[in-house]
Symmetry: C2
Subunit: 227 residues, 2 copies
């Protein structure tokens, strides 16, 4: 069997994305109606997404839950459940090893989230700086997490993730003294790709910078979801 | 337009992968016939793929070239060209923002590689620990690069990349004193996913561990490609 011609493939991709966006819109409406802020957390493998949530949940001053996406294993979900919040796991290998969460997977997980009992729902996406950026999952805000161990040029090399983000977290800044990492160059890269992007440089380990990040979440809660 | 039914999607994916594998087989044959070892280098964003190649190329004791894949920018290609080897850039955004290299892209780039003048061809894949693992690009050997800043559980969470690798490089070990990173736990994770996988723990910055890695490449050259 030969592959379908390019026009067929483009139609297929378009229709899949349209279906995704319809489901995402419903998820966003459901969260808005319940007064819940839905935050999608994106980043490459080991950027520090789970650690950021572990540091955020106890300091949030609001009731939270997490939907955690992983190819395999429930390690992130277990770490987050230890914070005492409801956690729903999506293992994308049961969806054919998907490299991202899509709106359908999140909508399915949403059925198990006690929406009326929470204020903020975090979705920890699959560790991947490329594919998740293309899929609206119904979030009100998207945060892209980058570790300083990854290098200063990542926003230029993975522009979509940064362009479609509402905030960037530059994690693991406690490692800066041990790296040849130029924070000024990273800020330039971020500015080049998304000039107005709020950026939080922080260390979960030392606690530096967490306060500003928590204030940003609080501001999102105040300003975003009104039905 | 509604999305095609699941059976149609599965047929489409299957046929795309079959077409990929046919092209990959031709690439592998062409390299084998020219006595060139083709090594695919995989890893998440900032794992240290480019730095590994920068350290490897001058110490290789063989003529090399690189095909460098990136979503956008030619930064990696420029860094590698500074090593004095032929570099061909694939910018996947010209292929619709692809999150991986496929066999067709590599075959197209191969036309610009002076195969008769080299011994080893490295392909630096797009920074992504998920999608590139699924695509044979015609390599003789695949190396997955992981930085110690990423955490010990990555092989369990991204198993396909490690299962389909012929070697793992654990990079940036100079950072170990500054991290809560348990090398024994990483070794257990690697062993659980791929028991016989050769693993090179190294630091490009200090030079520690490079020798063993270079010997492995030399052994691949001796044993792999005979037409």
């Amino acid at each position: 069997m030969t592959p379908p011609p390019p026009s067929e493939r483009i139609r297929l991709v378009t229709s899949v994305l349209e279906a995704n966006d319809r489901i995402a819109a419903r998820t966003r409406e459901a969260c808005t109606a319940a007064g819940v802020l839905l935050v999608d957390v994106l980043g490459g493998p080991g950027a520090g997404k789970t650690a950021l949530l572990e540091a955020t949940l106890p300091r949030l001053g609001a009731r939270a839950a997490v939907i955690a996406g992983d190819l395999e294993t429930s390690r992130d979900a277990e770490r987050l459940a230890a914070c005492g919040v409801p956690v729903v796991q999506i293992t994308t290998n049961s969806f054919g090893g998907a490299c991202h969460l899509d709106a359908g997977m999140v909508a399915q997980a949403l059925d198990q989230v006690p929406l009326t009992a929470i204020d903020v729902l975090f979705v920890e996406n699959v560790g991947n700086l490329v594919c998740p950026a293309e899929f609206d999952i119904g979030q009100h805000a998207r945060v892209v997490v980058l570790s300083v161990a990854e290098g200063e040029d990542k926003p230029l090399k993975y522009p979509l993730a940064f362009r479609r983000a509402d905030a960037a977290v530059v994690a693991k800044i406690d490692l800066l003294p041990h790296l040849e990492f130029d924070l000024a160059r990273l800020r330039e890269s971020l500015h080049a790709v998304h000039p107005s992007l709020p950026c939080f440089e922080l260390s979960v380990r030392s606690g530096a910078g967490l306060e500003a990040w928590l204030l940003w979440i609080a501001a999102q809660r105040r300003h975003r979801p009104t039905p």
